[in-house]
Symmetry: C2
Subunit: 272 residues, 2 copies
């Protein structure tokens, strides 16, 4: 039997997918759930403990006491201010060394991983545990982008790559060649909601979501789920394009069903 898997649980359903995958392999888990971020319903059925995001020393102690050697990060963690973090001694030592303000999201997550490795933990990627959840190339449902949507996808890809290179965000919405909105810290759901009020008449826009170039794949891959599809449809978008091989699908079958029900496309695209 494999060693106990530690799960650092952020927001959303992804921690549950990891718990289910481990259960299918009869692999025991221990969930370290971040207060105010993880969903209590998601962690309730497994061995778990709650910890403040800033309480790094306590978190590491809990993981060691639970016998965890291998760790996975699952679910988004909104980046707090240092004041909001209330770092304990161990976290403060970390921040003093890496300099929080000098880092973008990627740099910060990479530094956290390096720190945990320095403490003797092995960090594995979500995709190694959930390989079937990475977006394939091509359409997930019955609908495919037409030539006009493909032009919007190409423009969105150009913009998203530039945003990613600056470590700003992963998503962009393009309609009829116009960039309706660009994601920074607000997240994809807020971007989609905003674009509902910004859209022009005529055919709807496209959400393009890709990994940042050089993104730490063990920390923060782009993710979509059936709720993303429903939100996109409600906002009048005609489809979603995600990076094939680098986007986590939280319930692939449900995504395809939601896309078909809404009459929009969800497509995995190869990003060079």
């Amino acid at each position: 039997m494999a060693a106990r898997l530690g799960i650092l649980a952020g927001a959303g359903e992804l921690p549950l997918r990891v718990i289910e995958a481990a259960r299918a392999l009869s692999r025991p888990v221990f969930v370290l759930a971040f207060e105010g971020i993880a969903d209590p319903a998601v962690v309730a059925g497994s061995a778990h403990a709650w910890v403040r995001l800033g309480a790094a020393g306590e978190g590491m102690r809990l993981l060691r006491e639970a016998g965890v050697e291998e760790l996975v990060m699952a679910g988004s963690v909104r980046r707090p201010s240092i004041a909001g973090l209330r770092p304990d001694w161990r976290a403060a030592k970390f921040f003093a060394r890496v300099g929080l303000k000098a880092l973008g999201d990627d740099g910060l997550l990479g530094a956290v991983i390096k720190e945990l490795e320095g403490e003797g933990f092995r960090i594995v990627s979500l995709e190694s545990l959930l390989p079937q959840t990475l977006a394939p190339e091509g359409a997930l449902g019955a609908h495919v982008p037409d030539a006009e949507a493909q032009t919007d996808i190409a423009r969105g890809l150009e913009v998203a790559r530039a945003l990613g290179a600056l470590d700003i965000g992963q998503s962009v919405v393009v309609q009829q060649g116009m960039v309706l909105g660009v994601e920074a810290i607000e997240g994809t759901d807020a971007l989609i909601a905003r674009c509902a009020t910004l859209k022009r008449e005529g055919r709807g826009g496209v959400l393009v979501k890709i990994a940042k170039p050089g993104q730490e794949r063990r920390a923060d891959l782009p993710t979509i789920g059936p709720r993303t599809v429903a939100a996109a449809a409600a906002a009048g978008l005609c489809g979603i394009a995600v990076e094939a091989g680098s986007t986590l699908l939280v319930d692939r079958a449900a995504i395809a069903a939601a896309a078909d029900a809404a009459g929009i496309f969800v497509v995995g695209i190869a990003v060079p």
Copy 2:
């Protein structure tokens, strides 16, 4: 006496500033006000006519009948969809040639200017009529950015330049090194309002607004006014940095007074 000045009036107070500047020079004006966009109160006191944005043929006829040879564009015009534009024959001919969808905002405005020049109009820049309204280098009010704010300004500048190079937007908000938000089509006011809900604890962020590289200066310079300052203060920002020499100040004295009243800085920065 100089020839009659034609003013293509978009939204906001800028057309009024041009009208006032022309009046101070005893120069007659004719205002072509775009329906649903220009402010009726702004154009009411001057010779003017209303026209749909898509009615290019009628607009040119009105300008010629008014004896206009020299034109200035003043005030923002939100880019419509082709369907929302309802182009007349003359506008449709233009769009058929330039291909609306292939163009960003800059490309479109540049094409409009070229088209008007092809019809025999001279297009002059706002800054040639309102030179005293361009932001100078340095602080406009009593407050100046400290070292931490300067770090945020530098990050904002880096991001805004990349956005501008992609013809996406002019503005970005950075707090404690984090990019809180990036402007696309929603405009600066909506960006500021959104960042009020995204901000972290601790010191406030900075709005950075600059011209796009290669921006057509006769069409669309970045603009701020006292309402921008009030909105930034209400959203918890600690200041505003704009590009010196390329940002229009709608009422410089009122901007400085609003900044001092709110306790925030407004500073013009040299952009290399």
